[in-house]
C-alpha cells in the first residue's frame, strides 16, 4: 500500500468513524433520556419525531444557536481550550479500537479500525488519562468555587481510579500476551467445551471485569461516581460556567468516553466481535460488526440502568472505595491470575 493511498484510506476511515461516533453520542443521549424516563415512569422525549428520535438534532441546533456566554473573571485561554481538550482526547481514543475483522474491498484488506498499533491498549489508556486535563482546566479557569471543586474532585478521582483500572486490565494482557487490541480479541476466539465462548470474562477474569466496570464508571464521572458534577452540592461541577457549544462539547466528551469505555470492555472481556456466524458471505462479513455493536449497546444500557438505579457516593466513600477496596482487589486478582497462568 503506497503512502498516498494509505493516507486517503486513513482519512476516509477517520471521517466515517467520527460520523458514526458523533451519531452514537447523540443517540446515547437520547437513549439515556428515554431509558431513564421509563425507569422513572415517565415517557422521556416524545415530541420531536417518532419516539422523539429527532430530539438530538433539535438539541444540537439549540446548542449552536444559543448565546455563548463568557463570564467575567475567567482565565480566558484555558476557559476556551478546556472543552476542546476534553472532546479532542475523548474522540482520539477511538482511533485504535477495532470493530471487526478486516474487510476485503477490491484487492485491499481494510482493517476496521483507524490504526492497529501493537501498543493499542496503552494508547487508549494514555489518551484517556490526558482527558482529565479538560475537566481540571475547565474547573480551574472558570474561576468559580463550584467549578474548582468539581475540577479538583475530577482530577483526584480520575487519577486514583486509573490505577485500579490499569491493574484490572493486566490479567487480560497476561491471557493474550499482547497490547494490540486485535490480538487480544483474536485470543478470545473459540469455545470451551464447544458451548461457552472463550471470552475473557469466562476465562477467569470475571473479577477483573467488575473492577474494570466500576473503575470505568469513575473514570467517566458517571453515577454513582459523578461527584465532579454533583448538582446537589456543586451546581454542575466543572462545567457550571459553560454554556452553548462549549457545554455541548463537555457533553460530547462524556458520552464519547462512555462509548470508548464500552468498546474497550467489549474488546477486552466480551470477546469483541466474536459471535455466531451464519448466512451468505456478505452476512458473514457483516455479522461481527453487528455483534460488536450489540455488546457495546448492552454496555451503554447498563450505564444508563445504573444511573437510573443507584444513588451517589459521598466523596470520602468514593476515595476509600477506590484505594482501600478496589486497588487491593485488583492486585489480588492480578497475583492470582499470574499464579494460575504460571501453574497451568
Amino acid at each position: 500500500m503506497s503512502i498516498p493511498i494509505f493516507i486517503a484510506a486513513s482519512l476516509i476511515k477517520i471521517v466515517i468513524t467520527i460520523v458514526i461516533l458523533l451519531t452514537a453520542v447523540a443517540y446515547s443521549v437520547w437513549l439515556e433520556r428515554k431509558v431513564v424516563g421509563h425507569i422513572q415512569n415517565r415517557w422521556g422525549p416524545t415530541r420531536v419525531g417518532p419516539f422523539g428520535l429527532l430530539q438530538p438534532l433539535a438539541d444540537g441546533v439549540k446548542f449552536l444557536v444559543k448565546e455563548d456566554l463568557t463570564p467575567p473573571h475567567v482565565y480566558k485561554p484555558l476557559y476556551i481550550a478546556a472543552p476542546m481538550i476534553a472532546v479532542t482526547f475523548a474522540l482520539t481514543s477511538i482511533a485504535v479500537v477495532p470493530i471487526g475483522n478486516p474487510v476485503t474491498i477490491g484487492s485491499y484488506a481494510v482493517p476496521l479500525q483507524i490504526t492497529d498499533l501493537n501498543v493499542g491498549l496503552l494508547v487508549i489508556l494514555g489518551v484517556t488519562s490526558l482527558g482529565v486535563y479538560g475537566v481540571a482546566l475547565s474547573g480551574w479557569s472558570s474561576n468559580s468555587k463550584y467549578s474548582l471543586l468539581g475540577g479538583l474532585r475530577a482530577s483526584a478521582q480520575m487519577v486514583s481510579y486509573e490505577i485500579a483500572l490499569g491493574l484490572s486490565l493486566i490479567g487480560v494482557l497476561i491471557a493474550a500476551g499482547s497490547f494490540s487490541l486485535r490480538e487480544i480479541v483474536d485470543a478470545q476466539g473459540g469455545h470451551f467445551w464447544g458451548i461457552i465462548p472463550r471470552w475473557n470474562i469466562f476465562h477467569g477474569q470475571i473479577i477483573a471485569f467488575f473492577i474494570y466496570l466500576t473503575a470505568a464508571y469513575a473514570e467517566t464521572n458517571r453515577i454513582p461516581f459523578d461527584l465532579p458534577e454533583a448538582e446537589t452540592e456543586l451546581v454542575a461541577g466543572y462545567h457550571t460556567e459553560y454554556s452553548a457549544m462549549k457545554f455541548a462539547m463537555f457533553f460530547m466528551a462524556e458520552y464519547a468516553n462512555m462509548i470508548t469505555v464500552a468498546c474497550l470492555a467489549t474488546l477486552l472481556f466480551l470477546g469483541g466481535w466474536h459471535g455466531p456466524l451464519f448466512g451468505p458471505p456478505i452476512l458473514q462479513a457483516l455479522l461481527p460488526v453487528f455483534w460488536f455493536g450489540v455488546k457495546v449497546f448492552v454496555f451503554m444500557f447498563i450505564y444508563i440502568w445504573v444511573r437510573g438505579t443507584l444513588p451517589r457516593f459521598r466523596y470520602d466513600q468514593l476515595m476509600a472505595f477506590g484505594w482501600k477496596f478496589l486497588l487491593p482487589l485488583a492486585i489480588a486478582n492480578l497475583v492470582i491470575t499470574a499464579a494460575v497462568t504460571v501453574a497451568w
Binding site: 498499533l117 489508556l125 494514555g126 488519562s129 490526558l130 486535563y133 474547573g139 480551574w140 479538583l152
Partner: protein, 173 residues
C-alpha cells in the same frame, strides 16, 4: 526525509514548549507547556522505535505526574509570580553563560559523535523485550524502585497530611 521532517517538527514543538515554560509567568501555563513537551517527546520516542516508552511517557508523565502538578497548582491557587529583584547576578551572568555553554556543548556533540545516523525503528522497543530486561536483568533495581515508591507514598502522605491529623494518628496509634 519524512523522518527528518517529523523529527524537526516535534523537536521544534519540544523546544517551543520548553521555552514557553520559561517565559510564561503563570505556573499553570508552564505546566501545560510542559505537557506539550512531554507529548512531543513521546512522538520522538516513537520515531526512535521506543513505542512502549512513548506510551508510558504519556500515561505516567503527561497523564499522572503532570496532573499532579496541575492539581497542586489548583489546590494552592498559585498566582502569577511576582517580579523581584532576586539575583541580578544570575541574570547578567547566567543567560549569556547558558547560551555560550549550550552552543559549546552542541558543537562538541555534533563534532564528536560524527554523522552516524540512527535508523528509525532500528531497535523496536517491544513490550515483551523490555519486560524481559526489566524482570530478569534488572529485577533487583526494579524491586528497589518499588520500595522507593512505597517510601515516597508514605512520605507524601505524612508530609501532606494536616499537622493535626498526624498528631491524632500518633495518639491513636
Amino acid at each position: 526525509m519524512l523522518h527528518l521532517i517529523l523529527f524537526t517538527g516535534f523537536g521544534l514543538v519540544c523546544v517551543a514548549g520548553a521555552v514557553n515554560l520559561l517565559v510564561q509567568r503563570h505556573p499553570i501555563n508552564s505546566a501545560l507547556s510542559l505537557v506539550v513537551v512531554m507529548g512531543a517527546l513521546a512522538a520522538e520516542y516513537l520515531l526512535l522505535g521506543a513505542e512502549f516508552v512513548a506510551a508510558v511517557q504519556v500515561i505516567v508523565y503527561a497523564g499522572a505526574v503532570m496532573v499532579l502538578f496541575v492539581f497542586v497548582i489548583m489546590l494552592l491557587n498559585a498566582g502569577e509570580e511576582e517580579r523581584t529583584q532576586g539575583s541580578r547576578v544570575a541574570l547578567l551572568l547566567g543567560v549569556p553563560g547558558l547560551v555560550v555553554g549550550s552552543l559549546l556543548i552542541a558543537w562538541v556533540l555534533i563534532h564528536r559523535s560524527g554523522t552516524e545516523a540512527v535508523r528509525v525503528g532500528a531497535l523496536p522497543g517491544y513490550p515483551k523485550a523490555i519486560a524481559q530486561l526489566l524482570f530478569h536483568d534488572f529485577l533487583l533495581p526494579f524491586e528497589v524502585t518499588s520500595i522507593l515508591v512505597l517510601i515516597a507514598i508514605m512520605g507524601a502522605v505524612v508530609l501532606a497530611a494536616k499537622p493535626s491529623q498526624v498528631q491524632q494518628g500518633k495518639k491513636e496509634g
